[in-house]
Symmetry: C2
Subunit: 596 residues, 2 copies
Amino acid sequence: MSFTDEVEELARRRGFYWPSYEIYGGVGGLYDIGPNGLRVKQKIENLWRHHFLRGSGFAMVEIETPLVTPERVLEASGHVDSFTDPLVVCPNCHRVYRADQLAQEKLGVKTEGMTLDELRDLYKKNEIKCEACGTRLLDVQYFNLLFQTHIGPFTSDLGFLRPETAQGIFTAFKRVYESERRRLPMGVAQVGRVARNEISPRQGLLRMREFTIMEFEFFFDPERGPDPSDFVQKKVKVRWANGESSVENIGSLIESGFLKSPWMGYFMASTLDFMESLGFSADEVTFLEKGERERAHYSAQTFDVVVPTKRWGEVEVAGIAYRTDYDLRRHSQFSGEDLSVSVQLPAPEKRKVVSVKLNRAAIGKRFGERAEDVMKAIYAAAESMRAGSEVASANSGSLEVQTSFGTLELGQEYVKVEVSEELVSTKKVFPHVVEPSFGADRLLYVLLDHGLKEKEGRRVLSLPAAVAPYDVAVFPLIQENGMVKKAVEVLDALRGAGFDALYDEDGTIGRRYARVDEIGVPWAVTVDELSVRGKGVTVRERDTWKQWRVDEARLAEVLSAMKAGKGAGELGLAEERTGGEARKKGREGREREKSW
Amino acid sequence: MSFTDEVEELARRRGFYWPSYEIYGGVGGLYDIGPNGLRVKQKIENLWRHHFLRGSGFAMVEIETPLVTPERVLEASGHVDSFTDPLVVCPNCHRVYRADQLAQEKLGVKTEGMTLDELRDLYKKNEIKCEACGTRLLDVQYFNLLFQTHIGPFTSDLGFLRPETAQGIFTAFKRVYESERRRLPMGVAQVGRVARNEISPRQGLLRMREFTIMEFEFFFDPERGPDPSDFVQKKVKVRWANGESSVENIGSLIESGFLKSPWMGYFMASTLDFMESLGFSADEVTFLEKGERERAHYSAQTFDVVVPTKRWGEVEVAGIAYRTDYDLRRHSQFSGEDLSVSVQLPAPEKRKVVSVKLNRAAIGKRFGERAEDVMKAIYAAAESMRAGSEVASANSGSLEVQTSFGTLELGQEYVKVEVSEELVSTKKVFPHVVEPSFGADRLLYVLLDHGLKEKEGRRVLSLPAAVAPYDVAVFPLIQENGMVKKAVEVLDALRGAGFDALYDEDGTIGRRYARVDEIGVPWAVTVDELSVRGKGVTVRERDTWKQWRVDEARLAEVLSAMKAGKGAGELGLAEERTGGEARKKGREGREREKSW
């Protein structure tokens, strides 16, 4: 069994994940998250909320918007036009391939970001054949990855499933901004499902047709960056779009202008902190700058956040995109609602005020049917003066305007233009947006990939305690001599103290340790004969199989400290002096071990 | 402004909910849940998990399955055929109505559960006109409420958005049952989005096209009911399908056979407990038995759980359905996977064993092309003997079978049938299912409807502390004399102690109290000049506007006790002896109140 098969096999058998609708043969790209997988995933989600929302010093809120999205919204966002992948169909057996991925596999050339014409050219010049029937492939086309549906009983009301939660946030921006009392910066998050109709999904949880995204749109005044603080000292590993790599601190990346917004740096640092809290070292986390043609259509700069895996090499678990004011501008334009906001200027500024007084009667008399055209030309001239251009002879008594029937010079009998200056302390801006976006299911997968280890021929899932499905397991050594009763007391006490505790009394103690090792429970507490006599319980550590005897009264405190990273030594615990846990338990509990 | 408008107005202004894609004019039945609404909703969800999953004595797990569902699964479940509503279209202006609801409104007759023919008849016999253009309506048809889509690049691969999470649970049943080590009873829950393409949704959060369901399928051996415990004493208010009402304890409902499974009673009691934890009295919660024609196609008995609202009358917030083994049987049949399980019999039982030995050669020789047909007939005969029927002359040496070409008598040269008995201790059964299902958004709505009150001309949202968006607010009285610093200390201490605390320093203290009253924060802690001098902070109660001075060191303990329902008297707190909070605060803080 290859390593991947082991992860998948464990995932299915121990309730982490499996293909959805398996009894019907499954559907590519759809997975169920099972009881243990969901425990881990929910802990990842809550850790994310804790880190990015509650733990931040900014106004950060979470909202929930629908998956079903009307066409107009995704037209405005650009997804109806741009959210496509190239596919190639076999003319003989009709099998469908991702055209870029297949060409890359077959020809060994980098195809990400190629245009349709370039790909077609590639297929024309190279003979790429169908893997199923050997027919030559040529028919490369774009396929839109939005799941399409209809909203309500009319088939004309086209809708799509959202491919990202962002558009729900942008269309709700005004409401949230108002309810949060108009403050910038402001982060608006969603943790929710999105759907992408992948052409031929492979790679398990890494390429799903429906998955959970954790993302926020961080809205800021483009003229105000983050306060410099510790984050600028954080060192990050970057692979730039030009192919170069560097390990530098965020501060110097900002100063040298490599980052298109200092907030990009802020959230790179914060993302690295988050990945570290999931057990990844700074060295394992690479920020991969996307080239201009690889970026999404809305992005001025994007870094993929990748970590190494045993099976799939580098895997993207997050992306940080500088969406600028693209989305708010587009939605303003498409909806007619002004989504710009008023921000305080650092200091009051002088601003040119252009006021225009028209003599409509005089204009009408002179220009007749063309009066409307002339007035539009006057407004256009005033607008360009507001924008700073010096329109000929304003204030000199006459105004030069461009109409559809030629240039006119209009005297004061038609229009009076006055230009003055005033002090203003606010201005209207479209907030800019940096968007950190994480894949919850991908994080679940990489945690399993990283965590699954072999120890003396057995599998141990070495998950960080913060995201383990349970904090602790509680076992009676055997179902005799009051051990069950005492174990249930210990269980209740731990649950009362806030621990996520699992109870198991079935099978040998060895089997039970093996079971909780496989699902990643960091500690197992065993109640034996000594425990019943008030002499403490044993605490066994998943990763080392070491055991310590701990006073029942100190148990919650000891486990809390261990969860916080303290070692047994620091806690003054003495290891149980036995040769092997199986033998020791056998002696203590007079129980035969059959399964080791 | 009507009361409803007030709830909606508050919901929009204070970030509870608003129509999705509002800047594009909105889409019927789609709502965004805003920051404060989501805080309440997530607390409802977690309370639900705590009550039904972690708080139960059974194996109860949660999983997560996709919204996108292939056609075959919803064919098996019956939704492709049965998940319909009747609509009527105006032949002139093409406006669409829910045919049953419109008829009920216009004619005052009960239409729920009417067949298409009955509705058509109703429209034929009565003149019902289009509300928009006055044209007579006649064209009643069924409309399937499943949102339809295509999975992958082939339009032949039809898919739907799930209308309930249940089918994801049924199709995953085997995996979960294995990973939970084959124990019954077992509950499998989902909290997730579902989508129903309502014809013309109205009533805000009560009739959404996409919403969050909290439900579990409780799988049990139909021969084993719950252990009788406290729950049988619980009294519930029931309105029966025959129109009668009763208030009886669950035990007698089970004994008298009114409930089709004792587990229905168990979960009615548990549901009432849950509703009580949300602040509803037993008197406000009615279990409404659905008539045979009003029930979903899979249900042998259903109770809607309804509570009164100020605006919409009785509102359904949950349903408890006895789905029997309908779904597991249907999926076994449609998928070919046997979803029955082996259960222990209370005592070993004798079972008839029918073994069949065929002489294929002899059958082939005699029947030629019809041999296959004969063998099928033999298997069918054996199967019906296993099921108990006495097939003619078995054991007598010959077997009578029904083939497509007539009845045959087969001697021992063709087939030997032996019938014996053996003792067995297990048997195969399809687990039966009771499904309690709750609408998270509807619960959010009814909590707002119940909670919104007027006090001295101001709005107060009287939410139970367990589901308030924040536990407590912390305010410096004014931004002077060290009060901000002290308030932030108090805030950090409360957050450290696990409180969900809001901080606000903007505007007068009166405005801030008003703000947190409106979003339902049960307590506000104010730091004033006395606090800075170590003389305690004030705790103000949302519902009474009473205030008590509390030692800073005791604050967390006092708030915990209050959250647990303790009164100030019990806690030995003395009310601040001031005439009115505005005047008092004005004196203490030398601040003018402008807004009271």
